[in-house]
Amino acid sequence: MTDDTSLNLFQQQEANRRRTVILVIGFVLFFAWLGFGGDFIYYLATADAGPETYHHTFPWFGLVMTAIGAGIARYGFATGPNKVLWSTGAREVVDPATDKERQLVNVVEEMAIAAGIPRPRIWIVPDPDPNAFATGLDQGHSHIAVTQGLLDLCSRDELQAVIAHELGHVKNLDVRLMTTLAALVGAVALMHDGMGRLMQGGLRVGGSGGGGGGSRGGKKGGLGQLAIILLVLWVITWILAPLISQFLAMAVSRKREYLADAMGAQFTRNPMALATALQKIESADAPTSSIKRGAAHLCIADPLGRRVNLHEGGLANLFATHPPMAARIARLKGMAYQRLKAEGQFPAT
């Protein structure tokens, strides 16, 4: 188990770098489709009109939307970690004030040594529910955040196991992909809300010009079949955009949790500590209210406490951001058993 993770580390990092690039390109292409698609529909709608009226021949929307998409992607990538931390209301631990905070700083340093990466910056989220997440773009600039609840609830060993899990995400560059995803998902949701309002307003008032004017003008004029199909597709994309990005976030994070669990166990050589920590996190059933939907896939346990995460297969494969806790704990216990067996000592019970 541990050999696999250390051997595959390089491939994991490469895959995560590549996926981040694909994600960003896909994001920009999505915006380009929204823009140029709109242009094309508008062009078809105005092509048959009389010579005096406006002909949409230059793809303004497309160019503007692509530029906006690239801008958002660039901005989201650069400020992703800060945005994620800001959205949870975390505060940085610079000067540890209490014994627990000092312990946290020490534990993070220890695990950074075990993982062989520079020490991440440490944040505390003021929330009584135990949870933790890591964010950042590379190993040198990473952040690790735990909730106050986790600090209060976990023993030193358990805290160490949770931090090791998070550093596993940092080390194989999961954080880069997941943080970028969080920033882009947030941007899409925001864009969707904003544009939806704009379009509704445009249709109701019936004003001319802009994106709203484009689709409205098309309905009135002699619109070809192709244009109608395109229009439907285009509108559907708009409606589905947030859903698609949510699915992406989910699909991307489930497998990673198992891998990070294994890496955490490799760093601490103590899988049972992570198993008991997960049990504690699981039994504290209150949702982590300071962590919103946008950053849910970054956390060690689903902060929203959705029931869909309890199962595997079927619907859960579509909707869940985290594998079922029972399955994770079972795997960790399996690792612990393997270790004991390898050392030639069996548990007394």
Partner: protein, 196 residues
């Protein structure tokens, strides 16, 4: 003509592979050295911490002078052994450090017997620092052993082993726990919380 081209292509492939194998070995070698330096850093931290800890408890534990002196002595020996730190001199260092670990665990057993001493904020903090330092040492040791094992394996695997000589790669010594007593009790629990 076609034969020479094929031969040249094969030759180029071999050279390219050789270069990447060589670079991989050098990379691992430096990582191993770096990991060793990390142990050294953490050992220094431990050596610096011990006098503080002993001073903090000295007044209250005057009658446990023997234990304290054993710790100080083991610490001084470890400092002396670590003075010429190099992967070659690892046996010596490991022995001295293991003795220090043993002395420290005896010391901790003694401290456990004085709850009022543990309750002192300063001692509590120092104990947390000691726990952390002990963990850092064992984790840096673990990271070193992992890297060194990877390095050693790479050297021995075919066909990388053909380039091991060119890269001046030689098997790195692992940091092993020699003391049987320590193997049985790998870690002293110093957490301030009561055991669950």
């Amino acid at each position: 003509m076609g034969g020479t081209v094929i031969l040249l292509i094969i030759l180029a492939a071999v050279v390219l592979y050789g270069v990447s194998a060589y670079n991989g070995l050098i990379n691992l070698k430096n990582q191993t050295l770096n990991a060793f330096k990390q142990i050294d850093v953490q050992l220094k931290r431990r050596h610096d911490l011990i006098p503080n800890l002993v001073n903090a408890v000295k007044g209250a534990m005057d009658f446990e002078r023997q234990t304290l002196e054993a710790v100080i002595q083991a610490r001084n020996q470890a400092v002396a052994a670590g003075a010429n730190a190099a992967p070659g001199a690892m046996k010596q260092m490991a022995t001295a450090e293991n003795q220090l670990t043993a002395a420290l665990s005896r010391f901790n057993v003694v401290v456990e017997q004085y709850p009022q001493l543990k309750a002192t904020a300063n001692v509590g903090q120092l104990q947390e620092e000691l726990t952390s330092t002990e963990n850092r040492i064992s984790f840096s040791r673990q990271a070193y052993n992992d890297t060194a094992t990877q390095y050693n394996t790479r050297q021995q695997q075919f066909p990388t082993n053909l380039f091991a000589g060119i890269a001046k790669a030689s098997p790195a010594e692992l940091w092993e726990i020699t003391d049987e007593g320590e193997r049985a009790v790998p870690q002293v629990d110093l957490s301030m919380k009561p055991k669950a």
